[in-house]
Amino acid sequence: MDMYDLIIIGAGPAGITAAVYAARKKMRFLMVSKDVGGQAAWSGDIENYTGYQFISGPELVHKFEEHMRTYSIDLKEGEAVSGILGSGDSFTVQTQTSGWQSKTLIICSGKRSRELGVSGEREFRNRGLTYCATCDGPLFSGKDVAVIGGGNSALDAALQMMRIARKVYLINNTAGLEGDAVMREKVAQSPIVTVVNDARVVSVQGEKMVSGLVIDHGGKQRLLGVQGVFVEIGLIPNSEFISGIEKNPLGEIIVDKYNQTSIPGIFAAGDVTDVPEKQIIIAAGEGSKACLSVFRYLAKQSSS
């Protein structure tokens, strides 16, 4: 089997930036990823990526990819990593269908949507229940919908839906909404949005498609007639495929300031790590830092 200098797992802002640096350092490297763009591709409006006053998630990802493709990059897209074997100077990255060997790794597999874990959730996924308001929101124009969550992503979904839906319930399991004050005010002012605090989702109902949501509100069960359910209850790190590495209680991979993990030769960057603050620009910066650390690590290995 061929031995790469570096395998980058994930192709979001961290992975793509790492790839650009690796290409410029002329490393022998490979990228393995389920998709391109990661969570950034699912973002709505981005107004805090330096150099762009305003850009949409898909557009920014397109720019990232365009930049990356100016170099000749070997990207295995549509491959989910199932495990990592080895240690020291040789690691094997396994997917369902293939395996590749490398001297070092950068894990930038990001995060994914947390699920509710209630009955009806799996059955009605894409049948009225969605984790991506940005993508599927327009299909619910004129309908009654429920957004589950109380943070920024739930507020963002509620703001998107209040422009097109007939009625929006915002189901929050704490005493009051969190998230940015500006967004909370907009939601509070909308005659379309009804905020239900201290409420827990019990089940998603329907026949072929979603027709209702059962919530527990103060010990009483209520059935809300909705055709759409938007789950926005946070994110969990895609770190299950690697074991024997130090993670924090959230499952995030612990890295030092050089992006080194607890296993020498394995580096990590972006939202899958315990880096404080999860932002596109931070993930991109961490990706570049991780790649430069790999470069130094390899130089040291070959000189010793």
């Binding site: 898909p58 894409n126 049948r127 940005t134 993508c135 299909l139």
Partner: protein
């Protein structure tokens, strides 16, 4: 020979963008059905695919949900 290909999509969904780019890269001509502005098209997509997630491809009657590269290649024989 060109097959009749329809892509039901919204402008904001990343997999829609990728599926369309993939078709363009392979010189496949397709009809872009923006379901965010046309309710009739949205209803057509839901009845064809039995679900509400985008993108949906209709390749000569073969319905493919999501950016499933393998199945798309198979249906297009590319």
């Amino acid at each position: 020979m060109g097959k009749n290909v329809k892509v039901y999509s919204t402008p904001t969904c990343p997999y829609c963008v990728r599926v369309k780019q993939f078709l363009k890269d392979n010189n496949v001509v397709f009809q872009d059905m923006d379901v965010s502005v046309n309710q009739a098209m949205a209803a057509e997509m839901i009845s064809k695919s039995g679900q509400m997630g985008v993108p949906v491809l209709d390749i000569e009657g073969t319905i493919i949900v999501g950016f499933d590269k393998g199945r798309i290649q198979q249906a297009l024989e590319i």
